[in-house]
């Protein structure tokens, strides 16, 4: 057995899990592979080093242009998780130390674990007071709850972190309102935008956020590379100490090929965002309509008025999401239960629980996420399979409490 999945495998697979990771764009592959054999550490002073540095800085400028930030605001990291950690811990520490602002951190109950886990650590080990604010039944932050939390004592809020759009149900968060609220009290705002870039318009400067997380593999770039876009004026305490390569905020030899690939992917996905949105949303709406026609009691999760174009999150009453996933997988259709996988033990999604689902309802949901390679035939294949799959999963039953 070889572990490599062949092109043939990929062509027969109906891949509807783009929110987990999406295939690399040709432009990103080209940009990355072009640098793989180039010699030179971007921090070296000789010609090879200067060449590598030039590639990195041009990549930085490419990203800055695509997201409307300054090049100097792009801090490359090993991916979204590191960028989230850097933002939360780095800003919290800096604010506590220099500005004596804290110890409260306000966030939402539906954040990714890359945000929730650092927040948990900060509250356990660093005496931060973390408040995870509620969302409505559609998965959108209750802005009044945030307002009340801020106004209770604005001076002790170190930062606010709310994701741009939720990775599971795809609900877009009211970033404008959050920024407006925070700005009135001089509180910095971080947002995890890994799902939003390339899917909806993201303009760093116009958004008014102070720090923004992005990652390569969600936008058609490589794994293992991402960035924290962070305003120059905002002080951030580093997590990783060493050569100080990235603005002294982040150390580690700069990964030129990965960064070139990331920049190409960000540029390409932002450039095609509007068309992508129209095409994907139409396919997605068709998916939801046709699946719900076959499974009339299926329930749509998420906020149709504020939704990422590629997300279709559906609840199938009486079914275990795990059963559905396995049965679809056996038919070559790949999706996600949207649950955090903790040591392989499926937990009910904290996002759905926060939206008011019962544990059984949460366990009976599936996320289909569309992306740049999704075609009409993928939707057709799912629609054809879903009826018998739901019937069989129902026979296997849901957990107690459903």
């Amino acid at each position: 057995m070889t572990a490599r999945r062949t092109l043939e495998d990929a062509m027969t697979t109906v891949y509807l899990d783009h929110a987990a990771t999406t295939p690399m764009l040709p432009a990103a592959v080209d940009a990355l592979t072009a640098q793989l054999t180039a010699v030179g550490n971007p921090s070296s002073l000789h010609a090879s080093g200067r060449h590598a540095r030039r590639v990195v800085e041009e990549s930085r400028e490419q990203i800055a242009q695509a997201l409307n930030c300054r090049p100097g605001e792009v801090v490359f990291t090993s991916g979204g998780t590191e960028a989230d950690n850097l933002a939360l811990k780095g800003i919290y520490w800096a604010r506590m130390r220099s500005a004596n602002r804290g110890p409260r951190i306000l966030s939402s109950a539906i954040e990714h674990h890359a945000v929730l886990d650092p927040l948990h650590w900060l509250s356990e080990d660093e005496d931060a007071q973390v408040e995870l604010l509620p969302v409505d039944s559609l998965g959108r932050l209750k802005i009044d709850a945030l307002r009340a939390a801020v106004e209770r004592n604005p001076d002790d809020v170190a930062l606010i972190s709310v994701m741009w759009a939720n990775n599971e149900v795809g609900t877009i968060q009211p970033i404008d309102e959050i920024v407006e609220l925070a700005a009135a009290h001089g509180i910095p705002v971080h947002t995890d935008a890994v799902q939003a870039i390339g899917a909806v318009p993201v303009d760093f400067a116009a958004s008014g956020v102070d720090a923004l997380t992005l990652t390569g593999h969600k936008v058609g770039g490589p794994f293992g590379v991402g960035a924290l876009v962070v305003r120059r004026e905002l002080e951030v305490t580093p997590l990783v100490h060493g050569g100080g390569q990235e603005r002294d905020i982040r150390s580690g030899t700069i990964d030129t090929p990965a960064i070139a690939g990331l920049a190409a992917a960000v540029e390409a996905s932002v450039k095609s965002q509007a068309d992508h949105h129209v095409r994907l949303a139409a396919l997605r709406d068709q998916l939801v309509d046709r699946v719900c026609a076959i499974v009339p009691d299926a329930v749509r999760n998420g906020d149709p008025a504020h939704l990422l174009p590629g997300h279709a999150h559906l609840r199938f009453p009486g079914c275990e999401g795990d059963s559905l996933l396995m049965l679809l997988d056996a038919r070559g259709i790949e999706c996600s239960t949207g649950s955090a996988c903790n040591a392989g033990v499926p937990q009910a999604s904290h996002v759905l629980l926060a939206m008011g689902c019962t544990e059984a309802e949460a366990r009976g949901s599936l996320r289909f996420s569309l992306g740049h390679t999704t075609t009409q035939s993928d939707i057709d294949a799912l629609v054809e399979a879903i009826g018998p799959v739901v019937e069989r999963a129902r026979a296997a039953g849901a957990r107690k409490g459903s």
């Binding site: 049965l327 033990v345 499926p346 026979a395």
Partner: protein, 368 residues
């Protein structure tokens, strides 16, 4: 057949899955997550409930080339196995959680779900042999490797469960299974066998029970009493630390008058009295059993053998039953048999059925 392979992360279940796949079955591997908090169960390579074991199972599935999933059975396991273990100990009995897990989880909750999802059978790495008898019923026999034979812990399975089970290792010896694992490139080839109880991380059953039972413990102290004189020989810190036949941990300061070691003869959870005495008092030759389960036809009276604990010896016996309860008269007396344990009844190498031991006694004198 579409077959679901339960993969613990150990060598046996990996080879069993590989053999099923090689036999042409459409095999899907699953690892059972039995705890929501894997760290609370045994760590390292000793058990079957850790993240490492889950990863080992996943890697074995990769090598075999079959799909792999983790099934969360933690609620079912806690309810049916862990809780039962605690309440049985609290009642002064000695349960066998592995048997219980086979009866309620692997060949019940897992099998039911598998069948509903369109699978035809569950394959495991248990050492036991299945064959179809002349009457068309499926017979379970002891494994070829008597040192590894696990027909005892499968003795609770019914015809319906056996009809949907595959035990590909029953005709092999453990040494060959390890060699085969190595030949197949399964990294678990040299992983140590699991022992003890998987949900008690450090093997300290008494400490675990004390902590987990808390207020539900029937007592937290009591007298250790001599069986003949009724004299109080010492104190203990809770009857759940004891099982019948136990010798260690009594901490009686003075030796018996005859200098012979003392053993636990009886546990009385309500009064908290632990009765001790010499080894010969452990000897019994009559067993009453309840909750009988039969692999096939129910025998009214059977001259065969019984096994009274995992990896225990065979005792010749005459078994009579009304189908629900059994009376076992042992021709070869046994020692240290505790209520709660299972008596598995054999006719030659064939498993006839099993019952939960409810009472033991000694009828004959000097037969041994």
């Amino acid at each position: 057949m579409r077959v679901l392979a339960a993969m613990s992360g150990g060598v046996d279940s990996a080879v069993a899955a590989a053999r099923a796949a090689e036999a042409g079955h459409d095999v899907t591997g699953i690892h059972l997550a039995l705890s929501r908090n894997p760290k609370s169960y045994r760590s390292g390579a000793r058990g079957c409930c850790t993240i490492e074991d889950s990863n080992d199972a996943r890697r074995a599935a990769d090598v075999i080339g079959i799909p792999f999933y983790v099934w969360d059975m933690s609620d079912e396991f806690h309810e049916n196995v862990v809780e039962d273990f605690m309440s049985e100990y609290a009642a002064g009995r000695t349960p066998n959680p592995c048997l219980r897990c086979n009866e309620k989880i692997k060949f019940a909750a897992v099998l039911d779900r598998a069948l509903a999802l369109g699978f035809d059978a569950v394959v495991t790495g248990h050492y036991a042999q299945l064959e179809t008898g002349s009457d068309g019923l499926i017979e379970m026999h002891r494994a070829v490797d008597m040192g590894k034979d696990q027909s005892y812990v499968l003795g609770v399975l019914t015809q319906e469960q056996l009809a949907h089970s595959l035990f590909p290792l029953g005709d092999s010896v453990k040494g060959d299974v390890r060699l085969e694992a190595e030949r197949r490139g399964l990294m678990v080839a040299n992983k140590p066998d699991s022992h003890d109880i998987c949900f008690i991380a450090d093997g300290d059953n008494a400490g675990w029970l004390k902590e987990k039972l808390g207020d539900r413990a029937p007592n937290d102290s009591g007298d250790i009493v001599d069986h003949a004189t009724g004299e109080v020989l010492g104190q203990h810190e809770g009857t759940t630390a004891y099982t019948i036949g136990q010798r260690k941990g009594l901490r009686i300061g003075r030796p018996a008058p005859d200098g012979k070691p003392r053993f636990v003869l009886d546990i009385e959870p309500v009064s908290g009295i632990v009765t001790v005495g010499p080894r010969e008092e452990l000897r019994i030759d009559r067993i009453e059993g309840i909750k009988a389960r039969w692999c096939g036809t129910v025998p009214e009276r059977l001259g065969g053998t019984v096994q009274l604990r995992a990896h225990g010896s065979e005792h010749r016996a005459v078994v009579t039953t009304d189908g629900h309860d059994v009376v076992i008269e042992l021709l070869d007396p046994a020692e240290g048999i505790a209520p709660g344990q299972a008596a598995v009844i054999y006719d030659g190498t064939r498993v006839v059925g099993s019952a939960t031991i409810s009472a033991t006694s000694r009828t004959a004198v000097g037969t041994a």
